[in-house]
Symmetry: C2
Subunit: 210 residues, 2 copies
DNA sequence: CCTAAATCTTACCGGTCAGTATAGTTACGG
DNA sequence: CCGTAACTATACTGACCGGTAAGATTTAGG
């Protein structure tokens, strides 16, 4: 019972070696789960991808479900990092709002148009209370909150409305890009977003920026 | 070799009995594949759901993959029927454009928020050339064409642009409704669509309708 | 250098899956 | 009413899956 370290997600008392192994496992899980689908990918393949045995995998994660949840958590963390990196390049909140589309396009393209990992997870796991589904929900909620905050900063009269519209546009563009194999739709959705953001700013009496 | 009827999708020389069995199989496949996911649903469960044996299933469909493709084809056909039923209630093309959102909301709710079957299929089958993926692509392309036609009829200056924007809104609302368990997003997306359609009509000098 | 943690090796379990074989039975249509 | 198409019953194959067992071995770190 003392060695039940498999379940915690934070770096408790793990050695550097174990830490590195865990990293390789999560990296392998990320690549394989995303590219091939979760149910279609066996744990053995992930262990092999990490250069490790199935036994070692199970000493880091107590079950496949838990590994899946961590896989999505990692995706979420990396996404937030990439997003904030993008946003930091801009000062004005309305520019930041549009920069979210740039971050999306980058993600869409880098994933070879396999779609949103969180949406795909929802497709594979109908159970809304599956640990991975909780992570997925929180991921989307986080983006929504970010958009709402930026919308408020941009002075939109109804920040929640603008945020949801941008959110829906982002989601629609992402899923469309994956379905049709066309990443250009993200940029075209962005053009509509520009109108929405401008209109929201104009409604407040601010000058729109070209 | 003469009995190789399993592969054709049209009602060739099937008896009424076989026809009815095929119907029950497709109905069972629809319910189970959609609710539980395709990979997670075994062919045995579908046969049982149709009240027949696995052997009978395989006398109607040559493989699970083929059954999956037919499952999506059926979905597409039923969707088109439901959509045209909705559209027929309206005369003006701009009203028809918005009625698509009503049809979507109805579909979203009726499916208990399990999302778009075609998107879910894309999530489960990475191979773009999988027969089911082809059906999914054609399904989306069909809707796009319909939207583009209606946009042109509505007199939009750039029908393709309007159509794609509405399409992306529809897709985004659908996936969001499924992810967050909130069907209201479809109606809220519709509100933005109303603005887009009005703007397109206004640009042509037509009076907008309340 | 020695110890304790981390990993490896190998083999196994019970279960599920897609798909097939064979032989027997039912129901429908001419 | 009979022939044939449709379906049943049952058992099987071969593969893969998630997860576990037990003991040997390696590695890092004090």
């Amino acid at each position: 019972m003392t060695g039940a370290r498999a379940t915690d997600g934070d770096p408790g008392g793990r050695s550097k070696r174990a830490e590195a192994t865990r990293r390789r496992l999560l990296d392998a899980a990320d690549g394989l789960f995303y590219a091939g689908g979760i149910r279609a990918t066996g744990v053995e393949a992930i262990a092999e991808g990490a250069g490790v045995t199935k036994m070692t995998l199970y000493s880091h994660f107590s079950s496949k479900d838990e590994l899946v949840a961590h896989y999505l958590s990692e995706r979420d963390a990396r996404w937030r990092e990439a997003l904030e990196g993008r946003l930091a390049k801009h000062e004005a909140p309305d520019e930041k709002l549009l920069a979210v589309f740039d971050a999306y396009r980058e993600y869409v393209v880098s994933g070879e148009l396999r779609g949103c990992a969180f949406v795909n997870c929802a497709a594979e796991f109908p159970d809304r209370e599956h640990p991975a589904r909780r992570v997925a929900r929180e991921h989307k909620a986080g983006l929504r909150r970010r958009l709402a905050g930026l919308s408020a900063e941009a002075g939109a009269e109804e920040p929640e409305v603008l945020a949801e519209r941008l959110f829906v546009l982002l989601e629609g563009a992402y899923v469309t890009a994956a379905m049709e194999g066309d990443e250009g739709v993200v940029d075209r959705a962005r053009r509509l977003a520009e109108d929405l953001v401008s209109a929201a700013a104009v409604a407040r009496g601010e000058p729109s920026r070209g």
